[in-house]
Amino acid sequence: MSYKVTIADTGEEFHCRELQHLLAGMQQLGKKGIPVGCRSGGCGVCKVRITSGEYQVKKMSRDHVSEQEEENGIALACRVSPRSDIQLQVLGHLKKIVTPKK
């Protein structure tokens, strides 16, 4: 079973299978929009708010998603598998290396 995922910020859409996580679905056809890091729930760069849809979630680092956030639809996209069409907003970002001011 495959579902449609929509990134609200950009309107980008991609399909994701039930057995895949959202980042794998996104990357499969070279789509972009959610930052990609460890793909293992540890780094937090793929943090999203799921505004509609059903999904299952694997264990996520509590440094990045608190229990309360998890209850409110916040998740790490690399740990989320869809069970219906999904709409989401991107919250995470890659960290910036501190480049000294010149």
């Binding site: 460890c38 793909r39 540890g42 680092s61």
Partner: protein
């Protein structure tokens, strides 16, 4: 004996979200060997060519990252000597009793200026490297996966970079081996406690206490390519490589463990002596310093830590 003071990285304790997935990764895929478990659920691992009982401790946790990294010092006297020097630098220390980690002697523990916890210890149970010490064979049979030879170093992102480097060089006697600089600002420091190209490295960053990667030695470039095959065969999330670093000259590949902690396996890097000059890369050349072939920085490599 040429080695005094801090001898080598002794172990790294990594937090993992799922211990079974972590064991499949570190043991079956990378070739580490399980040597013990404790009542806190921690699992102790070593690489085949290490003599001491463990070099990696996996700690079940609800978050990823590094709990601490430990260095082995040559003697018990070194332990008390460094305890005083760390205190004199202005960093608080505590003692962790022998046996808190199975088989490890008493440890001096402290938080370095960049927010990472480090321990020093002089004793650890030695169980050997599966090869006899008389008429030793070149390698033991039955080692799995990438066949990692030893835990080699960590690269850490932390704040208060300059103070961290001053602490490691002034209080712990490590040498600056290689650096990246932007004008007179140091962006990266590769520090060595002996003859290796580096034993620990720090990158200037704004958050304290982050792990960029824990790194393991392989035997050759061919072994790095074979590790790349395993990364694809086992569907391990790849970060960058296989390629060569300008810094340290090592052949390398980066990927993530199942909790999002980055690992490196590498081979054939450079070496140094106490009288070797410091090697410097300029910020304009940082692409080449990091990825010698592509000369292009990779966003995920620069901007993902655990």
């Amino acid at each position: 004996m040429a080695f005094t003071g801090i001898m080598r990285p002794g172990h790294v304790q990594l937090r993992v979200l799922d211990i079974d997935e972590a064991l499949t990764h570190y043991c079956d895929n990378m070739g580490l060997i399980e040597t013990d478990r404790d009542d806190q659920g921690r699992v102790y691992l070593k690489c085949w060519d290490e003599i001491d009982k463990f070099s990696v401790v996996l700690e079940p946790s609800d978050r990823a990252g590094m709990d601490h990294m430990a260095f082995k010092v040559a003697t018990e006297q070194d332990l008390s000597r460094f305890e005083s020097r760390v205190k004199d630098f202005g960093v608080e220390t505590s003692r962790v009793p022998a046996g808190e980690l199975n088989g490890c002697g008493e440890r001096i523990s402290f938080i370095a200026p960049g927010g990472h916890r480090f321990d020093l210890y002089a004793q650890k149970e030695q169980i050997g490297n599966s090869i006899p010490t008389t008429n030793p064979s070149p390698w033991p049979e039955g080692i799995k996966g990438m066949k990692a030879i030893r835990f080699d170093h960590c690269l850490l992102y932390g704040n208060d970079h300059d103070e961290t480097v001053r602490f490691f060089t002034e209080a712990l006697d490590l040498d600056l081996a290689e650096q990246v600089v932007d004008g007179d600002v140091q962006i990266a420091a590769f520090l060595s406690c002996g003859y290796k190209a580096h034993d620990i490295a720090f990158i200037r960053h704004e958050e304290p206490g982050k792990l960029h990667h824990a790194s393991f030695l392989l035997g050759s470039w061919e072994q790095v390519l074979r590790a790349a095959d395993i990364i694809s065969m086992k569907d391990i999330p790849l970060d960058v490589g296989p390629t060569r670093h300008g810094l340290t000259r090592g052949m390398t590949i980066y990927y993530y463990d199942p909790s999002g902690n980055r690992n490196e396996v590498f081979a054939e890097d450079s070496y140094r002596y106490p009288d070797s000059p410091v090697l410097t890369w300029e910020a304009d050349n940082v692409g080449q310093a990091i990825f010698y072939h592509s000369r292009v920085l990779v966003d995920s490599f620069m901007g993902v830590v655990s």
